[in-house]
Assembly symmetry: C2
Homo-oligomer: 131 residues x 2
């Protein structure tokens, strides 16, 4: 059975991102968080997210599938957005693209301690090639 | 709590792939399986896997993280292998690369009915660029 509280905690984290409520980020993300093995810490994690929103002005996180098995959460996120310039090394230049991210989280003491994320770059490449 | 039976079923599926035991694949994969929304069916799914092993002779699936929340399984797979030629459109040409796949499965009646997979193409590109 899913831990509905962990699912709820995760959904509130995603809401926080979509509100760009950066002062609240520390309620959901640990001070020593690692992202894809990089020891970003909370400040570096926030910088990454702020940069994402700067580069993708209409960025919005949609949870397509949520799999909870404490202390882990796995989430398939869907994005429909228009990165302003280069994204993942691809010249998107304001085109609307749709892509997913499959991402795992390890929680510790109620906060995200580790993240292992893969964005579907090949899907964006295919959309740009078909332009 | 994880459904240990579903976790066990999934681990037996991965063992089946690593043995390349294709006659047994139908014990784990539904006849009408879809992969990234493509209605491959069991025969098409087997073809995809056989092609993978042909193009990557030392292919081996390592489960790095398993998140079970019936009827869903999310798995982070690690590969250390040497694709013989082009892989994901990249000219790997026998170089040893290490990369991950974050993949979700929906089970139905004890078998994999849907798969949503993303392979970390950017990680392979970075390794080839650093060659």
């Amino acid at each position: 059975m899913p831990d509905t509280d962990l699912a709820g905690t995760y959904r509130r984290y995603i809401d926080c991102l979509n509100r760009q409520d950066w002062p609240a980020l520390g309620q959901f993300v640990a001070d020593d968080v690692k992202h894809n093995s990089r020891p970003f810490g909370l400040a570096g994690y926030r910088e990454m997210l702020e940069r994402d929103f700067r580069e993708i002005p209409d960025l919005y996180f949609n949870i397509e599938l949520l799999v909870c098995d404490p202390p882990h959460v796995a989430s398939r996120l869907r994005f429909n957005c228009a990165p302003a310039g280069t994204f993942l090394g691809l010249r998107v230049n304001g085109r609307k693209v749709s892509f997913t991210e499959n991402v795992f989280y390890a929680y510790h003491a109620g906060k995200i301690a580790q993240v292992w994320s893969i964005v579907d770059k090949a899907a964006i490449e295919a959309q740009l090639a078909g332009a």
